[in-house]
Symmetry: C2
């Protein structure tokens, strides 16, 4: 199977499972509006990198990919909740997400807060109610909690909000991005191993892959953001393009960023090689390092 064939196979399974989460339910009494809001953001598209990672790590550990589908969906549910809350007026106050109006723009702020809250609860529910043995369910849900809480997404988002336009050090920015973005990418990899009942050595390799991939992803994101803004504005690359926020680009410049992405991509590939079938994971790391605007 080629890289794109496997990506498509994972994606097809994930998309169908996500569509079945809330899109078909009807409960009546002004209640469908909540399910509709949850479904709207969940089905708004995206590459689904996180659940693809979960399924692939399950597969390379010899696990049952179909049984891990609920775990993969849980990762995307949690990611979707964090995007809805990040977009709120009291946070980033964004009107658009992936070219579509943000959740609160369509459903109002009250529903958007509740849709996010419910997506977080249902992410844990999805794992805890699935058919895997109790030990694996508990391990996967614990990994999700690690990524979601104060040492993960919430802590990272808080640092991002409070940091404002103050200049951060390299360590501070790495910590912020590691919490806000890295933690769930790492958890997605780790949960694939845990769903398959993989070994501690496999869990460790998955964490190293996820950490390197997450860091590379973030630096590349900073570069792409700047590139697209500067193309629009006609400014030279490397200028202050992120509304005064510290980015890896503003700290390091374009050349050092490109070198860091290369180094981190090689580290991810090294970690992937600890699995017998590593082709897809290596290719994915290369693809994410090279993706265009």
């Amino acid at each position: 199977m080629t890289f794109s064939e496997r990506y498509d196979a994972h994606l097809t399974a994930i998309t169908a499972a996500l569509a079945a989460c809330f899109g078909k339910e009807k409960r009546g009494f002004a209640f469908d509006g909540l399910l509709e809001a949850m479904d709207y953001s969940l089905m708004a598209g995206g590459k689904r990198v996180r659940p693809v990672l979960t399924l692939e790590f399950c597969r390379v550990c010899g696990g049952d990919v179909t049984a891990a589908l609920d775990v993969a969906c849980a990762v995307e549910l949690l990611h979707t909740y964090s995007l809805i809350h990040d977009d709120l007026p009291c946070m980033d106050n964004d009107d658009l997400r992936r070219g579509k109006p943000t959740n609160h723009k369509v459903f109002g702020e009250c529903t958007a807060v509740l849709a996010g809250d419910a997506l977080q609860a249902e992410a844990f529910g999805k794992i805890l109610r699935c058919a895997l043995p109790a030990e694996r369910r508990a391990a996967c849900a614990e990994a999700l909690a690690d990524a979601a809480g104060i040492d993960g997404i919430c802590g990272g988002q808080f640092m991002d909000m409070m940091g404002g336009s103050q200049r951060l050090s390299e360590e501070e920015l790495s910590e912020l991005q590691g919490r806000k973005t890295g933690s769930l990418l790492l958890a997605a990899c780790r949960m694939g191993v845990l769903a398959a009942g993989g070994s501690p050595a496999q869990e460790d390799a998955a964490c190293r892959y996820g950490a390197a991939l997450g860091a590379a992803f973030q630096i590349r994101d900073d570069m792409l953001d700047a590139l697209s803004t500067e193309q629009e504005l006609g400014k030279p690359i490397g200028s202050d393009a992120a509304n005064g926020k510290t980015t890896f680009l503003s700290l390091w410049g374009a050349e050092k960023c490109a070198a860091a992405v290369d180094r981190l991509t090689r580290a991810a590939i090294d970690a992937a090689k600890e699995f017998p079938e590593s082709d897809f994971l290596c290719e994915l790391a290369r693809y994410l390092a090279g993706r265009g605007v």
Copy 2:
């Protein structure tokens, strides 16, 4: 041990465990503000009925109450998150909670949303990281997810917000209150049994106790709200005191409400009697039925 001695013993253990959750941590870099906001609402007081129920059901099932303390704390963490989000400007827009300024009044809306989000994640984390066997951790976390999601708190709060001042039927109001308030009271009881590794029959009795207690609690709450408002305003009891919202009092009147509280309290006591040591649970049901304004 008398009722109040046992309540105090549970409460002392819970208060100390909750105070240790976020009150003593320091992480640095604008990060302490999030922990401070979480701790502020968590330590704002209250009777801690839910975690007391968890510890007591664990005890009457012969479980290790100390080992269940993390599970009890998780219930209070989840309850606290739901109060913080309910108070937000886009929800009930409340300035005061238990006589103190609400979370967003002290820390701002952005931090209040994140403090709630993080409290939900840490509630699951608390259970999943505790020392109980994996099967019990998974069962307790699943019960919490049931209470937190669309069939629980989020669904109930959504119905409450969307219902506005429209007149609800008895069934609709029961469903709304069952989700918004009943689900977590029931889960608190159920999780005590699950933490102790109790039998399905014990889990069933705990659910019946929790459901009856939750329903009685809510009707009594409607009566007390009306009483306190009407005392302030000098209006007769039973008049429209809840800003046009349907309440059990507005549907039934005071006499039928009092009869329902009696009936539900007897049902809770019947369920409690299935446990060998039921004194505390029976007394608690009577106490909650009779509590004053």
